[in-house]
């Protein structure tokens, strides 16, 4: 989650301090959306699942007497909420925040609007927004103590502000309240953070156990084996750490932190050649995906060079070759882009994105025959492919004889 957040759309480079949010110890992936309703601004509080969030001194305990703000405009609020959710899902966090804020203004009793606003601040790639997130999430909780999902967002915000004890209580309570129906990625995030907290306490056994829980829930998340690697390093097990980083890289070949840690360990083992290769890949990735500054918006020449270097160092890295081709195309070097692309399709005939890119390239060249030929190649390579996998403007080609 940490790394993939950086792939989310970014604000322009001119935004000072944008990097701060990218430095979350563990950030929240946009996919970790969970079951928070976007349906509207129902004023009936959500019943607490399983009755878990009801009593005692838990931070999930509802505020005494849920507040009753003045009646607003629930219809307008619902519309703004829906718009915000749509923007959020599309990765346009600033627009999402504007819409969520409008929803809270339109109906100050809309718990979901506050919860979504808080969430959009937690996952923000802009500014240091945890404190604002907490404000909004606490308001959501006061309005609807049954909003279990808001509690995880609150935990993440507390974690971001190094309020570790409060975060730990919220993560634990969330897992107890959320139950098996909650989104696996959300539960995995809670376990992952509990693992980090355990590691900070030097409790490597608990950290491992929490990461095992998380990996079972989100087996495709490379950040989980990465955290495992950090845990094993701290526990002094270099071999296990290397294995963990390799697992992370199997899941995500461009997982920047895993390249970095792996390079360090290889150096310490005297495996200089492998270390150098990992360092070079890390450096190239770092130039593309600086955690804070939105360098993924760099000019295409830099991207073509960096992805090209990664592709040369790691020929099996199909994303690197794909991105190199895209950058070359942006540079109006279509012929070179086509060469990269054709080789990529040849080596990875099951890579749908490469086929689609090839079709796009042909269309840009106004070479309809080539585009049709590429569609046919896709059909041959991937018999299970459907026209819906193509962008809408390409679908007519699918139907061509």
């Amino acid at each position: 989650m940490r790394f993939r957040q950086r792939l989310a759309p970014r604000r322009p480079l001119s935004v000072w301090l944008a990097r701060a949010a990218g430095a979350l110890p563990v950030a929240v992936h946009l996919a970790v959306i969970g079951a928070l309703s976007c349906a509207g601004c129902d004023r009936s509080p959500t019943p607490p699942p399983g009755g878990a969030v009801t009593t005692g001194a838990s931070p999930l305990t509802p505020a005494p007497g849920a507040s009753q703000p003045p009646v607003g405009d629930p219809v307008l609020a619902a519309a703004e909420l829906a718009r915000g959710c749509e923007r959020f899902t599309a990765g346009d966090l600033p627009a999402a925040r504007v819409a969520f804020t409008a929803a809270t203004t339109a109906d100050p009793a809309c718990a979901a609007a506050f919860a979504w606003l808080g969430r959009s601040l937690v996952v923000s790639s802009q500014g240091m927004s945890f404190s604002r997130a907490i404000e909004s999430l606490e308001r959501a909780r006061a309005l609807d103590p049954g909003l279990v999902e808001a509690h995880l967002d609150l935990a993440l915000a507390r974690f971001g502000l190094v309020e570790y004890e409060a975060a730990r209580r919220h993560f634990t309570a969330y897992l107890a309240a959320a139950g098996a129906d909650a989104a696996p990625a959300r539960r995995a995030a809670a376990h992952q953070h509990l693992a980090i907290l355990a590691r900070l306490d030097g409790d490597h056994a608990t950290a491992r156990a929490e990461l095992d829980h998380a990996a079972a829930l989100a087996p495709g998340d490379p950040d989980l084996p990465y955290e495992r690697g950090l845990t094993e390093e701290e526990a002094g097990d270099t071999a296990a750490a290397l294995t963990a980083y390799a697992t992370a890289l199997d899941l995500e070949r461009n997982h920047l932190p895993s390249h970095f840690r792996r390079a360090r360990l290889l150096r310490s083992l005297g495996r200089s050649g492998e270390a150098q290769q990992a360092e070079r890949i890390h450096r190239a990735l770092q130039s593309l995906f600086d955690d804070s500054t939105g360098r993924d918006l760099k000019d295409p020449r830099q991207r073509a060079e960096a992805w090209g270097e990664i592709a040369a160092l790691d020929p099996l890295n199909r994303k690197a070759r794909f991105e190199q081709g895209r950058a070359l195309l942006e540079l109006d070097r279509a012929a070179e882009a086509a060469l990269v692309l054709d080789a990529l399709v040849r080596d990875h005939p099951d890579y749908v994105d490469a086929h689609v890119f090839g079709i796009d390239l042909a269309l840009r060249r106004r070479d309809r025959a080539d585009a049709v030929r590429r569609v046919q190649a896709l059909r041959v390579a991937l018999p299970a492919a459907t026209r819906e996998q193509l962008p809408a403007e390409m679908r007519p080609l699918w139907d061509s004889p």
Binding site: W16, S129, D291
Partner: protein, 567 residues
């Protein structure tokens, strides 16, 4: 004006004291007089410096970084004088100038007098920081101010006045400097000059940026191109030659705001660490033979270019110390709020690992916006604690982040003896509750009472003179090194002090922290030991000598060549 001792008198004083130590410091005030720990003593100090950053609401990029400060003995009277670096005017600013950096003479008893005008060292460069080393080896410490525009080198004439010798020294370079240091990299006996440049910026290159809901904000450094660093070789005759390329310092992708020289690989010469803002840090390994300047970039191999997760950070201040007692130098780097400061633990062979999280530094610093930083043994228990000076860039930060304030309190982290840190309690003193827009930090015994006081510089705020008050349980040992050559302050020397069977290591290092110059006398905490059994000095050119035993509780002047030769 006070009568100043001549250089000969100063040296005689040093010889007289020899290894036997200077007289014991004056008795400390009773413990029950006022608060203990770090206490702001500015009001009675005579220091009235207020930093001017030129802000007018335009949010010029340069406004945020200044300025640093320095503690040094400019008049060779044995106490530490103060230098405070000024910013300056910018278009649209209403406050009348001119604005100059200031020199304050130490009159004793933590009282200072502004002698800038008489001394003739009022630098006008829009300053980032200052170096206070003796560049020409005449025994009088000089001043080098750097920042936006042409740097200025003031030669100390030895009569209480300075002469601007920038042009004669050949130091023509008007780029935006974020850091600098003196170090004898080629071990030829004089001090070379490294200047780390920040970004290509001028008023003409100003850009307007925004961070909603703030309508205007300072631009991110990524908006501006990096500016290459420069290494000046001291030619020994008061002039300098740009040897950057031939020395191999060829990277142009850094935005330098911090630098510190240290022998990180224990091979007898000084390596160079450069802290870069939002770009990878540099570690240049010194591979030159004596008389030669040659560096190799080992930033990646040393794993010091990035944080623990392989990311760049907004690096600013930095300092080396042996935090875990394994006799190599570890590194702290201050960073932006929400990034946490980095703690690179030396794992031998110039390989580092950022262990800020497991060693408690990350948690304690994550909310802070860190600048000045020093390792110091606050409690004299024999290990180095960590002091950081904090302050946000943006006066209006609270409009978009309730967790931040422009003015922030310093933070003292106490070392548990194994290199793990936790925030100090009330014993740290009231300073730790006192918010300021902190930038520079210089550490030294300003009042000569045997503990370490502070000079804190700020941005658009007043400077602070801070006294260390109250009893300290552990004993201390202070060592002033006197080299034989032009590097008479022995910058770059390494000292191992063994007391009660335990050895601790320090280096003489003027430039550290952020944009600030430190006292050159080394200050060791000895815990319960009443003496150091042995002091082993490795002088900058490589010669090793043993001294001791030396009594605790005083300053000892160690003259090169007066000890027992060591292998």
């Amino acid at each position: 004006m006070r009568r100043r001792p001549s250089r000969i008198a100063a040296l005689l004083a040093a010889v007289t004291s020899g290894c036997g130590g200077e007289p014991s410091p004056p008795p400390r005030p009773p413990a029950d007089v006022g608060p203990a720990g770090f206490v702001d003593a500015t009001a009675a100090s005579g220091v009235d410096f207020r930093h001017v950053n030129g802000a007018s609401g335009e949010m010029y990029f340069v406004e945020t970084n200044g300025s640093g400060c320095g503690v040094f003995d400019y008049d060779n009277d044995g106490d530490l004088d103060l230098c405070l670096v000024q910013g300056g005017a910018l278009p649209g600013q209403r406050e009348p100038g001119p604005f100059t950096s200031r020199l304050y003479r130490n009159d004793g008893g933590l009282r200072f007098t502004d002698v800038t005008a008489a001394a003739g060292c009022g630098a006008t460069v829009y300053g980032t920081g200052v170096l206070c080393g003796d560049h020409d080896g005449d025994g009088w410490r000089d001043l080098f101010f750097y920042g936006l525009g042409q740097a200025q080198l003031f030669r100390n004439r030895g009569d209480g006045t300075f002469a601007d010798v920038t042009a004669a020294a050949g130091l023509k370079d008007g780029r935006y400097a974020g850091t600098a240091l003196w170090a004898d990299f080629d071990r030829d006996g004089d001090l070379d000059l490294f200047v780390g440049n920040y970004v290509k910026w001028s008023v003409a290159l100003h850009r307007t940026c925004a961070l909603p809901p703030a309508e205007k904000s300072y631009c991110h450094p990524d908006v501006f191109e990096p500016e290459a660093d420069i290494l000046w070789r001291n030619d020994g005759d008061g002039t300098f030659t740009d040897v950057t390329a031939q020395a191999g310092l060829v990277r142009r992708d850094g935005k330098a705001l911090g630098s510190v020289a240290s022998d990180v690989d224990d091979d007898g010469d000084l390596d160079l660490f450069v802290a870069n803002d939002s770009t990878p840090n540099f570690l240049w390994r010194n591979d030159g033979a004596p008389g030669e300047l040659r560096f190799t970039d080992i930033s990646d191999a040393a794993a010091i270019a990035y944080d623990r997760d392989g990311r760049t950070q907004g690096c600013m201040g930095c300092d080396f110390a042996d935090i875990d007692g394994d006799l190599d130098f570890d590194l702290v780097v201050t960073n932006l709020a929400m990034e946490a400061n980095a703690l690179y633990v030396n794992q031998g062979g110039a390989r580092f690992d950022d262990q800020a999280a497991p060693r408690g530094v990350a948690r304690s610093s994550r909310i802070d916006f860190g600048w000045g930083v020093r390792f110091l043994d606050f409690d004299h228990d024999g290990d180095d604690d960590l002091l950081t000076i904090n302050g946000h860039l943006h006066a209006g930060v609270r409009t978009y982040d309730a967790s931040q304030e422009w003015a922030q309190a310093p933070k003292l982290l106490v070392n548990d003896g194994h290199g793990r840190f936790a925030a100090a309690g009330p014993e740290g003193g009231p300073l730790l509750q006192q918010k300021a827009v902190g930038r520079g930090l210089a550490v030294g015994d300003l009042d000569g009472d045997g503990d370490q006081d502070l000079l804190i510089s700020t941005n658009a705020d007043v400077a602070r003179v801070v006294e260390r008050r109250g009893p300290i349980a552990g004993h201390f040992l202070r060592l002033t090194l006197r080299g034989r050559g032009k590097n008479h302050d022995a910058i770059g020397a390494r000292v191992d002090v063994t007391a009660a069977g335990r050895t601790t290591r320090q280096e003489v290092r003027g430039a550290a922290s952020f944009a600030s110059w430190q006292e050159l006398t080394l200050h060791f905490g000895l815990a319960a030991a009443a003496r150091a059994e042995e002091v082993l000095v490795r002088w900058p050119e490589g010669m090793r000598e043993r001294f001791g035993p030396l009594a605790a509780g005083r300053n000892h002047v160690l003259l090169q060549g007066s000890g027992r030769p060591a292998e």
